[in-house]
Symmetry: C2
């Protein structure tokens, strides 16, 4: 008998140690489960005395609510799926920061996946996030596989596609025209009188937004009757080192260039450093233009001419709109050409 009693006691202890559920809390508080649930969600009505009893029991038992069960019962989660191509380009952490500003106060959690600029991988991660029935999706860009588009469209969750407005969106689109951004950069260089222009950026198969900017850029040069741009395309991630090497190779092949447009300020600063190292005078011998308006470029010895992109705002507005649940819409945010001393 005694041993049995001991065993039961042990079991009870183990049970408690294992997982504390709403039922345990309600038993401890001497209340019904629904009452406890109401108190914990601060939803519906209950007396202050009840609230206190619940909180006391929660505290004593160390109860942690189970949102998996809660979400199943109420068919709705507080998860927001975010899908970006990379973390190595500052644009995307900035986007995430902006989104966090809007989502955190609403008590939403972010499930974040990285695709490495691969639409197949994008499809895979969106499918697996979808299995968590997120409240909304934020995805970078407008280019997806057919299946991904269908999945997002038919799922019923709100989707915001961010950064780029050149194309057909699924639901909400927040960004700016990448093509226009490229055109603005080209106009600037053309106006300043540069005529033999080179380009350093990622391979086009890689980043569709860089390609759109390049196309826009090229179209302005063509309009001005200028020769097609010389390009140095890069595989790896955006960095100072790579930009420096890329400019060196580009100049070796095309000694007569008078300006180079870089698809990112990281690259551009690398290019600028190359010029300093080689004694190439900027901008008189070679003009350097960047893209993104990174701090590092703005406060270089010669401030870099670049184009400030509103990436944090895009993240924030995208997150806000996707939760406010209105109809589909396109929001175009302004970019700003920052004239530095390198062009």
């Amino acid at each position: 008998m005694i041993r049995v009693a001991h065993r039961m006691n042990d079991d009870a202890i183990n049970k408690q140690r294992k997982v504390v559920t709403l039922r345990d809390v309600s038993a401890a508080a001497g209340l019904g489960m629904s009452t406890v649930s109401r108190v914990l969600r601060n939803h519906g009505s209950f007396s202050q005395a009840t609230r206190a009893r619940v909180m006391k029991a929660v505290e004593e038992l160390g109860y942690v609510p189970n949102r998996i069960a809660g979400s199943l019962a109420s068919s709705g989660s507080n998860l927001v799926g975010i899908v970006i191509p990379s973390l190595h380009n500052i644009v995307f952490p900035d986007l995430l920061s902006g989104a966090a500003v809007a989502l955190t106060p609403l008590g939403l959690q972010t499930v974040i996946s990285v695709t490495d600029y691969d639409v197949a991988q994008e499809q895979k991660v969106i499918e697996s996030i979808m299995a968590w029935r997120p409240a909304a999706f934020l995805v970078a860009g407008l280019e997806h596989s057919e299946r991904t588009r269908a999945l997002l469209k038919n799922s019923g969750v709100r989707v915001a596609e961010l950064l780029d407005t050149d194309g057909e969106g699924i639901d909400i689109v927040v960004g700016f025209s990448q093509r226009e951004a490229g055109m603005a950069c080209a106009r600037h260089l053309v106006e300043r009188g540069y005529r033999r222009i080179g380009y350093v950026g990622p391979h086009f198969s890689f980043d569709p937004r860089a390609r759109k900017r390049f196309d826009g850029f090229s179209s302005i040069l063509a309009e001005a009757g200028m020769a097609p741009i010389e390009t140095e395309l890069i595989d790896g991630i955006s960095s100072t080192e790579v930009g420096r090497g890329a400019l060196e190779r580009l100049l070796a092949r095309n000694p007569g260039l008078d300006a180079v447009y870089f698809s990112n300020d990281d690259f551009a600063v690398g290019g600028l450093f190359h010029c300093y190292a080689e004694g190439i005078s900027v901008p008189s011998q070679l003009a350097i233009m960047g893209y993104n308006g990174l701090d590092i470029g703005r406060f270089a010895p010669q401030p870099l001419t670049t184009l400030r992109t509103p990436r944090a705002e895009i993240g924030e507005i995208g997150a806000r709109l996707v939760m406010e649940s209105r109809g589909p819409q396109v929001v175009n945010l302004p970019f700003e050409l920052l004239e530095g001393e390198t062009t």
Copy 2:
């Protein structure tokens, strides 16, 4: 009668349009739910013919599995909670990238939250991630509220604390000694003969790791019988601009400094740029030392002397260990002093 039949038909259609469940798939395939579940999870045994029937039904109905229900039934999610203080310091995106390398192949999703260097906020986000019963936690640093530590310890989930090994961990710890890192930087400057050293970094209340480095740094100077270091403490995020301004202020107050130690390469590069702008010769008039081994510093006109930190490796190893579910352990990774031309 006809109207009733119509209504039922409508209902059936609505039902199907609304949410396709495992039950719908099993009905369409003419199989039991458990069989379909087994096929979809590729778990247990079934014939190839069965597999094909299931896949066909899944395709036709556009079934998306519900991991909320699955996780509730099997009491275990494929979510990994990641908690970092900020996204504005490159260290943390790098950490996330490293973690993704280890987690993605295992089919794990990341729930990421940012604390803004606030232990209360950290507690809040860890509590709410815990409600999703994550498979594991990755958190930056060892400094938490008492409650957070208790929650993590008692929850039974594996926890890896990343970046810092100076202190008591909860479970797995992966990083390096921040104190030692600071000491290594100080030794380098002392060896080179610098004697009046300044420091630029974030407010100490802010970032406990920066404080530990600073303490290690100071201890070496004290050992060498040198005067206490002059400091310029900063509120905002790490950036070139801020570093530039901070150095200016620091030098205005302390004209005799012969070296400045920056808590981040962003700051340090800003400082370097300030020197260039003011015609201060580096390192003969003023030595500049950074921290983190960022690309931007390595490929500046004068390569920055800095200390390379293995942050992506920390993320990757932390993620790997936390999933391999062995006992508590501390992994110390090496940092590397990179001698540039600025000291």
